[in-house]
Symmetry: C2
Subunit: 481 residues, 2 copies
């Protein structure tokens, strides 16, 4: 059934013959962008990159790869942060990119829903939907490049989760090509549908290990025309969490973002964008970037003003600025984005994506930063993130001027140090980025026998021949054969 005897050249010829040359890239140069990760940390290769134009093409590709004994690594916009979308065995894997399947099949404003191909770029999708007065809430740094099928496969998070939920909560239906080449047609837009198990849930967050998502139907909301954005200074992260709780009650369900940042954020942002206006002094211990938004009759500006009046009166917020124009609001967000770029400019560093319970977030950050300071006194911790979700990106920057080897050694040690603290707080080592191949070992180390048993049982049930994305999330090799 599987033909492992063919040389790579023969396999490439076979793929071209079966699928047509239009769908298959085999030249190393052409394949490079699909075989290198988003950060450029890892470059791999592949037997081929298959670029289907339709669901039927995906089915044909699945069957061809099965016949040739090749494994498939599905790929969206290749913006993943955990090596879930690039090959780790170039001599037996192909990349299947959904990039050509980027048609918006239907936007139904009256139904508050849209049906789109998996390869639609998130930002383009959001823009087209906005033209109809509607809003698709998923918002993340990579939105100019990431594709909705990848967002669903990784259950992407981002800055609006506290109000609208993870990608899972935005998905109404899926079309998925299964490992046997058949199509799971679950592309409904029904809001409520309790006909047996909700099969689509299996594929959300599966990182392409159970099926290849080819189309998605999503929930839309009315476009929030009214937005109030404020940058606030506080005396501590603990105060920021108290502020979040109060905002959650005072602003009800209308708060759409609540990001905390350390004072170093301003320095880092300026390193990336020297001309960026920073409207507050960097002398306070903690900052919050907060957004309230809504459509219709609720006076969002008034709500923000009354909220700030209260919390400044109580001295919970000690300084602050409210954007008075879209341009000003954009500049406030550029501080948040610039902080990330600034870290990148300082060279390789440890990035984490941790969640703990909201009650323990401040204690966790203090503990984890102290542990890093003790083990790696010459490194700098930068903790920031989505307070309302208990999600913190605690990054560790090696000293400027470190060699790449020194950096990798410090990153390795910092990760071990931080993970010990994460475990102590029963936190997650992957709040929103997924597991991929990068976090697989750390994930598997922490997996109970029961959970591992369930994961293997499900993989075996749906992809018994391990056709799809092998070694992603868990390495089943030994368990399954």
């Amino acid at each position: 059934m599987t033909d492992l005897s063919g040389s790579i050249a023969e396999q490439r010829l076979s793929l071209c013959a079966v699928l047509g040359e239009d769908l298959v890239l085999t030249n190393s140069e052409d394949m490079l962008q699909y075989c290198r990760d988003w950060h450029g940390d890892v470059t791999s290769g592949a037997i081929a990159v298959i670029r289907p134009r339709s669901t039927a093409d995906v089915q044909a590709a699945v069957r061809a790869c099965r016949d040739l004994g090749l494994k498939i690594v599905p790929q969206g916009g290749n913006t993943g942060l955990v090596l879930g979308g690039i090959p780790d065995e170039p001599e037996r894997q192909v990349v299947l990119t959904l990039e050509r399947m980027n048609r918006i099949r239907n936007i139904d404003s009256d139904d508050f829903s849209a049906v789109v191909d998996a390869g639609c770029v998130l930002a383009e999708l959001k823009d087209t939907i906005a033209e109809k007065g509607m809003f698709f809430p998923l918002a993340l740094g990579a939105q100019g490049s990431c594709r909705i099928g990848g967002n669903v496969s990784t259950n992407a998070g981002g800055i609006n989760v506290l109000r609208y939920g993870m990608t899972r909560e935005l998905v109404l239906g899926l079309e998925v090509v299964l490992p046997d080449g058949s199509v799971f047609d679950g592309l409904s837009t029904l809001r409520k549908d309790n006909r047996g198990l909700d099969l689509k849930q299996l594929f959300i967050g599966a990182e392409g290990t159970l099926g290849i998502i080819t189309a998605v139907s999503v929930k839309l909301t009315p476009y929030p025309d009214n937005v109030a954005t404020a940058l606030l200074a506080l005396n501590s992260l603990d105060d920021a969490i108290t502020l979040y709780r109060r905002a959650r009650r005072d602003c009800c369900d209308l708060m759409s973002a609540f990001e905390f940042m350390p004072p170093l954020a301003f320095t880092l942002a300026r390193e990336a964008m020297p001309d960026l206006p920073i409207p507050l002094s960097g002398d306070y211990p903690a900052y919050v970037l907060m957004e309230i938004s809504g459509s219709g009759l609720v006076d969002i500006d008034d709500l923000m003003h009354r909220f700030l009046e209260g919390v400044m009166g109580d001295e919970l917020v000690v300084d602050g600025t409210i954007a008075t124009s879209q341009a000003q609001a954009r500049n406030l967000w550029l501080i948040r984005e610039g902080m990330n770029e600034g870290q990148a400019k300082r060279g390789a560093h440890m990035r984490t994506d941790i969640s703990v319970s909201l009650s323990q977030l401040a204690a966790f950050v203090i503990d984890a930063e102290a542990a890093v300071a003790q083990a790696l006194p010459d490194c700098i911790s930068v903790s920031y993130g989505h307070v309302g979700d208990g999600n913190v990106h605690l990054n560790v920057l090696p000293p400027n001027g470190s060699t790449i080897e020194e950096r990798h050694e410090k990153i390795y040690r910092a990760k071990k140090v931080v993970n010990v603290v994460v475990d102590k707080y029963n936190g997650s080592i992957s709040a929103e980025h997924g597991i991929g191949r990068l976090k697989r070992e750390d994930f598997e180390e922490r997996l109970s026998d029961t959970k591992r048993g369930l994961l293997i049982a499900i993989k075996k049930a749906i992809d018994p021949d391990l056709l799809l994305n092998p070694h992603c999330q868990i390495d089943l090799g030994a368990d399954i054969r």
Copy 2:
């Protein structure tokens, strides 16, 4: 391994011996309430009713039943509407009720979460949470009796879905006893956790076919102290849908209920509650019961007034009343509840639980009611439900004075007639009630080979011996052996 040779009496003795008499009921009279469905339509029996007090007891019960070759029907508050929680083979099934596991393990207002035993009664849980200033949004007619584990197992809907989502969206974590007796410990309260497949999703809506949910962690929100409730009269169901769309935009995310009712609702409610005040005339073609609510600084009353000013100015709403006290609001909701009781008082009738896309809801109701009128001219259709979710309960009442046989014959025919229209609109025959045993045939008839294949593969992967809730959702007997 399985001992089918033992007599029922021997099996009962064995269960008592292994689990202790305190956990096991075997007397028919004691077992009756666990073996009869909520509507009293079906009365079954069981080898025994097992009443565990702890997760360890559930594990012991699962192992004992496996050893004795008995099948387990898990049960919460036994308020299900599709026969998913009562036995259909009394001579080889036991009921396992979670009713004794009703401890609230923890309410953490600072984390906006709670961890509770599966057997907590929903209304009691909501009340205890409200005492802490927090809110658990799930709200449905049976909340005085249903239990949270059953709500999760059926992915319950109710009146607040348009704002807060189905039960699935309220669940942060689960503890589940698996068919092999092990415990899946997924009882985290993390908001964001992308460590591999989200295994808890499998058990939500599985109606007890894959595991026995023993505890649940749930999301809480601040208690919405401010509520505005209005009963509105409109010229058509189509106008009601237009009104919903406008309310969704004008009131942003603050609308918590939007129920439509026909004029007959008033008559039916009065039949059940003769003294109930009805503040509007029953002369309009359609009515909407609408609620806006929120915590904190948003002026909910003002929002409702400004919204109604606009829609009455545009003559979309032709008459209406806003409750000026909690008692008045309660009376408006009693019309909605009384309508259901009034139908029950008229005797056995067809109940449905349909969803279609919001764009097609009005057309569907007109089509389906016309089809019923043609096929069953002496019956009355009553369509009402949750507009924002595209969820309509289209019920058909046989004429007063019909015998029970006549009623059943008409119910059978009405169901066939309506299901044809549901199929035409690509709707769901179960928006929120689940499949159970009552809708299994209708469900299986509509199942594609691919979906059936996936359902069987998952059941086999997790419950290969078909220990849990056999014949619920699908009948796997022939496929699996």
